[in-house]
Symmetry: C2
Subunit: 338 residues, 2 copies
């Protein structure tokens, strides 16, 4: 299969390098990494298994390579190219462009042992940062969500040493009821519910983790939590159970939607029916959200080597939100927590 890629993580996966302006062409046994003069020197040092082509106009250079080659068809991901770029690429070329949605995600679906080791390291560093952040939070009564969000960024990145895999979510009480909460001026106080969702990148591989916890002087992100409000406690215990049962029940060979159902049924059979408003999880790798998507509609068969999150939640608008998230890898047919 001949194909063209533009997305940075898609290109990185193919040749071990990406910058912020590149195209990758894979034509039979040959690969071409096309970039502009700013990046040629570094590309020549780092690109593996592809010829580095320097060009001011990347699409024009790709067209020239395609014109000289004798290929008859080229696959591309229609989500990856804008109408403008694609029109310029295909114009007057006598070859057939084939739509191939999620082309790179499909290639990256089964992780190698090396990739799993990098993701595990990312998850380990992330878990350590969660612990350090929890310790820091004990001293932070009276501080705003916004400032604590910044503290979280500082601690997750080790003051800039690592990149974030996404903008972390730090939400107190009712603000946690929004699955994608933005930090506000709300102040942290004793007795609050705290939801924290964060992740970093290690050698470009992402991690992702969420904990919900009760704020007092012994604050920590351990999974065993005690809340004053009995309704919140019931919701927390259900989310914890739903996550445990999904992790225990995950099997290679199972459909994604059947895994989603294990967690969803536990919540939907309770007083919190309908309060688990998002999908159970998503793949994690070079992208923070990639295949496989663990939701109630996805028929995809889960397989050994897939890495994804398991993150059930209960959200009661205006009151509270609870989510517990870990990453797992399927190995020897079962889920191992990373």
């Amino acid at each position: 299969m001949n194909y063209i890629l533009k997305d940075q993580n898609a290109v990185y996966y193919e040749c071990g390098f990406s910058c912020d302006n590149e195209l990758l062409l894979s034509l039979g046994s040959e690969k071409f990494f096309i970039t502009d003069p700013r990046y040629t020197t570094e590309a020549k040092e780092k690109v593996q298994g592809a010829q580095v082509i320097e060009a001011k106009d990347l699409i024009k250079a790709a067209r020239e390579i395609l014109r000289k080659s004798r290929i008859k068809s080229l696959h591309y991901d229609p989500k990856e190219f804008s109408c403008a770029d694609f029109a310029k690429l295909e114009s007057k070329l006598s070859l057939s462009f084939k739509k191939s949605p999620d082309l790179s995600w499909k290639r990256r679906l089964i992780k190698s042992d090396h990739e799993i080791a990098l993701i595990a390291k990312s998850a380990e560093l992330n878990a350590q940062a969660f612990d350090r952040f929890a310790t820091r939070l004990r001293e932070c009564e009276g501080v705003s969500e916004r400032r604590l969000h910044f503290e979280a960024v500082a601690i997750l990145t080790r003051y800039g040493e690592y990149e974030l895999s996404f903008d972390p979510i730090f939400a107190i009480g009712p603000n946690a009821a929004k699955p994608h909460a933005y930090p506000s001026d709300q102040i942290l106080k004793r007795g609050d519910l705290v939801l924290f969702d964060g992740g970093i990148k290690y050698e470009r591989y992402c991690s992702d983790r969420t904990r919900t916890a009760y704020y007092d002087e012994e604050f920590s992100f351990k999974k065993d939590q005690r809340f004053e409000n009995p309704r919140i406690q019931r919701a927390y215990d259900l989310v914890k159970k739903a996550q445990e049962k999904a992790i225990e029940g995950a099997r290679s060979g199972m459909r994604a939607k059947d895994l989603d159902r294990i967690a969803r049924e536990i919540i939907d059979r309770s007083e919190f029916q309908g309060c688990f408003v998002h999908s159970l999880g998503h793949g994690v790798g070079l992208d923070i959200h990639e295949m496989p998507f663990i939701n109630s509609r996805n028929d995809q068969i889960l397989e050994d080597g897939m890495v994804f999150t398991i993150e059930p939640g209960i959200y009661v608008p205006g009151e509270f939100g609870i989510r517990i998230e870990d990453m797992v890898v399927l190995r020897s047919g079962k889920a191992e927590v990373l």
Copy 2:
């Protein structure tokens, strides 16, 4: 003109609100803001001059509105839509889709007095942060670029109060020779050249500023700088002169390329011919890079109300890089520094 927009800043400009999943349709005198259920409540509070439509599938909802309307043509920016989204949008609709590159940027080219006031405030807050960062740097001999990059983020954002308009560049000595340097483990020491390029957002409007300075105990980002190395001093004085002359020479009614030429000639007639490797500037507004682009090929006429950067530089690979950047607005025919 009927049009559809998808980009967040493009949509915000039309109706004073955007989230991270929306489409805006402008059909004759009617506008429609289409978003998913996560954002409907906030959209109904904040969207001005457009009807809020809730939909799980935004493109499907847009198609329904288009089908019911009697419009014959719809403009769109081919850079703004992926092939996949556009194919879904246009399929089997009996209306003509017109390519309109830079549709939103063209609408946003001349800033209103209110927008200029917001950009000026953004620039003022940014300049204050530069001064605070300079004071902090005096205590930072022996600290790495990477850690100082993080300090810069902390100070620019006021520990999370403001958003960055882009990831700032903090580069020492030879690393400053790369116009888009990434922070390294290099350590700051007395006698170093420091290049710092940063900006924030104030009510979504961006600022952008660069200073180059000599590192010693009296370190500051003032424009009058003294370097030990006479060649660096000559380069610095040329960049400073090129910037001053471009600001003085900017006129409404002038072509962008003629403004670029004022600065470029000063550098190209010196021993540093060819070392000014990028364009003179770019528009700044809701996007950090928008129209007008001030480069050697752009015939666009500059007009009152346009806001852009003036940022000449000299880059000597492996040795040093110098850039001085301010934002200006054209008012009463001339450039005022913001």
